[in-house]
C-alpha cells in the first residue's frame, strides 16, 4: 500500500513545477522576442484606422471610396484584423513556431540523465509528473495569447469603440490548437530524448496534417461543385421535361449529367479517403477557424469577403465559384464541435496516454 503524503502535497508539487516553468520562460529570449513581436503587431493594428474618407495608417489617410468607415464599420474592421491577421497568421503560425522552438526541449530535458533522477526520486507519481510538465509547455502559448488578445481587446475597444469580451475565446482555442502539436512533440521528445528531433518531427507532422486538411478541402470543393453541377443538370432536365417531354436537348443533358456523375463518384471516393485519414488527426486549421465562427455568432463579425468573381467551375457556367464557396462555408458551419474539437482531443488523449504509458514503464 502506498504511503499517504501530507495534505496539500499535490498542490504544492504542481505549483512548484509551474513556477519553475514560468522561471524557465522568463530566462528564454524567445519568449520575450515573441512578446515583442506580438506588441509590434498590436501597434500595427492600432495604427490602422478607418474614417469616412478612407483608410489611415499612423495618421496618414489614403482616400478610398470602396474601403472606408461608411462601407465597413471600424469595430468590424478591427475584429477582422484580429481574427485574420492576429489569430490565423500570428498566433496560428508565427507565434506557434516560436512556441514550438521554445518548448520542444521540455520533455527531452525532463528525461535527460541527471535531471530525471532528481525528479523521479521525489514523492510524485510518474504519470502526474509527466502530465504536469506537459501542461507547463502550454504556459508559453497561454501567456502569449492572453497578452496579445488583451492588447487587441483594448485596441478594438479604444479605436473601434466596441468592447468585445468574446475575443478572449481566442485564448482557449489557440491553446487547444497548440496542445495538439505539443502532445505529439512530447511523444517524440520522450521516445528520442532529442530536442531537435522532437521539433523537426513535430513540424513535419504539422505539415502533414496541413497537407491532409488541404487535400480534404480541395476534394470537398470538387465534390461539392460536382454535386451542384449534377443538381443543376437535373433541375434543368426536370424543367424541360415539364415544359416539353420531347425536348431534343434532354438527351444531351442526360449524357452530360451522367458524365458528371462519373466524375462525382471519383471526387466522392477521393474525398472520403481524405476524410478517413483526417478523422483521427487533430483538426488544427478547423480549430482556429472555429474562433471566426464563434465570433461571427457572438459579436456579429462578418466573415471576410470571399472571392466574388463569377467564373463557372468545370468549364461550364452552371455553378459559380461563389456559389460553391458559399455552400462550403455552410458545410463548415454545419460541422459539429465533436468533429472539430472532439476528434482532435481524442487524438491528443491517445498520444498523451501513450506518453504516460512509456514514461511509467521506462527505466532511466
Amino acid at each position: 500500500m502506498s504511503t499517504a503524503l501530507p495534505e496539500g502535497t499535490y498542490g504544492r508539487q504542481t505549483w512548484a513545477i509551474v513556477v519553475a516553468a514560468y522561471r524557465e520562460l522568463n530566462a528564454r529570449k524567445l519568449f520575450w522576442l515573441s512578446l515583442a513581436l506580438s506588441g509590434i503587431i498590436v501597434v500595427a493594428i492600432a495604427g490602422l484606422g478607418l474614417d469616412e474618407e478612407g483608410i489611415s495608417v499612423f495618421g496618414w489617410t489614403f482616400e478610398s471610396p470602396f474601403f472606408n468607415a461608411t462601407v465597413v464599420p471600424p469595430a468590424t474592421f478591427y475584429k477582422l484584423l484580429f481574427t485574420n491577421l492576429g489569430v490565423e497568421w500570428w498566433l496560428g503560425l508565427g507565434s506557434t513556431v516560436l512556441a514550438l522552438v521554445s518548448t520542444a526541449g521540455i520533455i527531452p530535458d525532463l528525461v535527460s540523465g541527471g535531471a530525471i533522477d532528481m525528479m523521479l526520486s521525489r514523492p510524485i507519481g510518474r504519470g502526474r509528473l509527466f502530465l504536469t510538465k506537459w501542461m507547463t509547455g502550454l504556459l508559453f502559448t497561454s501567456l502569449q495569447v492572453f497578452v496579445f488578445t488583451g492588447a487587441c481587446f483594448l485596441v478594438i475597444g479604444i479605436r473601434g469603440g466596441s468592447w468585445e469580451p468574446s475575443l478572449f475565446l481566442a485564448v482557449p482555442l489557440v491553446v487547444l490548437f497548440y496542445s495538439y502539436l505539443f502532445a505529439f512533440c512530447a511523444l517524440v521528445g520522450l521516445l528520442t530524448r532529442s530536442t531537435v528531433a522532437s521539433l523537426l518531427l513535430t513540424m513535419v507532422f504539422w505539415f502533414l496534417v496541413f497537407g491532409v486538411q488541404s487535400g480534404e478541402a480541395l476534394t470537398n470543393w470538387g465534390r461539392t461543385a460536382s454535386a451542384m453541377e449534377i443538381a443543376s443538370y437535373e433541375g434543368e432536365i426536370l424543367r424541360r421535361e415539364a415544359e416539353n417531354p420531347k425536348d431534343p436537348f434532354i438527351e444531351g443533358l442526360l449524357e452530360e449529367r451522367d458524365a458528371q456523375a462519373e466524375d462525382d463518384a471519383t471526387w466522392r471516393l477521393v474525398h472520403n479517403c481524405f476524410m478517413g485519414v483526417m478523422a483521427p488527426l487533430p483538426k488544427t486549421g478547423e480549430t482556429l477557424e472555429l474562433l471566426e465562427r464563434l465570433l461571427v455568432d457572438r459579436s456579429g463579425i462578418e466573415a471576410p469577403e470571399r472571392e466574388r468573381r463569377g467564373e463557372g467551375v468545370f468549364g461550364s457556367n452552371r455553378v459559380r465559384n461563389r456559389e460553391v464557396r458559399d455552400e462550403i462555408d455552410r458545410q463548415a458551419v454545419g460541422r459539429s464541435l465533436w468533429w472539430t474539437i472532439g476528434t482532435s482531443v481524442l487524438f491528443e488523449v491517445a498520444v498523451l496516454a501513450s506518453c504516460v504509458w512509456v514514461f511509467r514503464r521506462r527505466d532511466f
Binding site: 504544492r12 522561471r23 524557465e24 535531471a115 521525489r122 532511466f364
Partner: protein, 328 residues
C-alpha cells in the same frame, strides 16, 4: 525482513535490454543510523541498486523495503534525500530556488520549506551565493547546492552517489564532516563512492559489489579480520626453525616474518623464542588488510590472477570470485 533495517533488499535482480545482467541477486541490509558505503568497480551495479531504491529503475525480480515500505513506494521518498552522481539542475534557477523547489516536490509546506532552505544553504556554506543562477556556479558549488537540496526535506535516509565528485580537498573534508554530523542526528546515510579512503573514514559498514553481486558486506573490521596478522621484523636472516612460521620477506639487512595470528598474545611465544636465540627484534606490529587491499582482492579473478573485466555481465557465464561470508 529485519525490523531495524532502513534498507532491506532481497535477491534483487535487474536485466536490461540486450540481456545485460546488471544485478544478479543482491541482498543488502542497512540499519538505522549507520553510514553505509557501497563500493565496486565501474559497472558493478552500484548505481542500478541506488536507482531501484529511488524508483528511477524497476527491479526485474526480487523485493525489499526502503524505510519499511516496499520498493517503488513513492510516499516513502518524502523522507529520503537523494543526490545522484551526475545531477543536473536547471541553470535558470538560483541556488535558493533549487533547494526550495525540491522541498516543494517533497510536499513541504511553504513556511517550513523556507526555514529549511535557509538552514541547508547555511549548512553547505552557500548562502552568499544563493541568489545567483546555477549556470554561474562551479562544479563544487553545484555539488553543495545539490547536497542542500537532498537534505531540505529533513530526510531519515540520505542516499549520495559520489558526493565528493568534483569537490576540492577542503570541500571533501566538509562533506565528510557533514556526513558524520548527519549520522549524529540519527539519519541513515547510504554512500556510493569510488574513493576508498573516504569510505574508510566515514562508513560504519560497507558492501563491495562485483559484477552484479554483493561480494562482501559488513564492518570494515569484520571484512578484514581474516587478514589480520602479526609481523615481526628481526635484524639479519631468520633462524631456520622460524622459516615455517609464516611468510618471510627479506629487506636488506632485515627479515620480516608474518604470523597468521589475530592477537598479539599469540605472537609472544615466537618473540620469546627468537630472543632466546639472540635474535634482535627491530619491530613487532599487528597488521591487517586495508580496504583497498580487500577491494583489489574482490575484483581479482582467482583463476587467472588478473583484474576482472569491468562492467555488467552480458550474456556471459563467467562468475566473479566467490563472496566471502561475514556476519553483519
Amino acid at each position: 525482513m529485519n525490523d531495524t533495517s532502513v534498507i532491506d533488499l532481497r535477491n534483487v535482480r535487474k536485466t536490461y535490454k540486450g540481456r545485460i545482467e546488471a544485478l544478479r541477486g543482491v541482498d543488502l541490509a542497512v540499519g538505522a543510523g549507520e553510514v553505509f558505503g557501497l563500493l565496486g568497480p565501474n559497472g558493478a551495479g552500484k548505481s542500478t541498486i541506488v536507482k531501484i531504491m529511488m524508483t528511477v529503475v524497476r527491479a526485474s525480480a526480487g523485493d525489499g523495503t526502503v524505510l519499511g515500505k516496499p520498493l517503488g513506494d513513492k510516499g516513502a521518498l518524502s523522507r529520503v534525500g537523494y543526490l545522484p552522481e551526475h545531477h543536473r539542475f536547471p541553470a535558470y534557477l538560483t541556488g535558493r530556488q533549487v533547494v526550495d523547489f525540491f522541498g516543494a516536490l517533497a510536499g513541504m509546506p511553504r513556511a517550513e520549506r523556507r526555514a529549511r532552505t535557509e538552514a541547508m544553504l547555511d549548512l553547505v556554506r552557500m548562502r552568499d551565493w544563493a541568489d545567483r543562477r546555477l549556470g554561474t556556479y562551479s562544479k563544487g558549488m553545484q555539488q553543495r547546492v545539490g547536497l542542500a537540496a537532498s537534505l531540505v526535506n529533513d530526510p531519515r535516509l540520505v542516499v549520495l552517489d559520489e558526493p565528493t565528485d568534483g569537490v576540492d580537498p577542503v570541500g571533501r573534508k566538509e562533506i565528510r564532516d557533514l556526513l558524520l554530523r548527519l549520522r549524529g542526528e540519527g539519519r541513515t546515510i547510504f554512500v556510493n563512492s569510488h574513493l576508498l579512503s573516504e569510505i574508510e573514514m566515514v562508513c560504519d559498514r560497507v558492501a563491495i559489489m562485483v559484477q552484479g553481486r554483493v561480494w562482501a558486506q559488513g564492518t570494515i573490521d569484520d571484512l578484514t579480520r581474516s587478514s589480520k596478522r602479526f609481523e615481526i621484523t628481526m635484524r639479519g636472516a631468520a633462524p631456520e626453525w622460524a622459516v615455517g612460521l609464516g611468510a618471510l620477506r627479506e629487506d636488506g639487512a632485515s627479515t620480516t616474518v608474518a604470523l597468521q595470528v589475530a592477537d598479539a598474545a599469540d605472537a609472544q611465544p615466537v618473540i620469546d623464542r627468537l630472543r632466546a636465540h639472540g635474535v634482535v627484534i627491530e619491530r613487532a606490529v599487528p597488521v591487517r588488510e586495508s580496504l583497498e587491499d580487500l577491494f583489489i582482492r574482490a575484483v581479482t579473478d582467482p583463476s587467472s590472477g588478473g583484474t576482472l573485466n569491468p562492467g555488467a555481465l552480458r550474456d556471459r557465464p563467467s562468475a566473479p570470485p566467490p563472496p566471502i561470508e561475514v556476519a553483519s
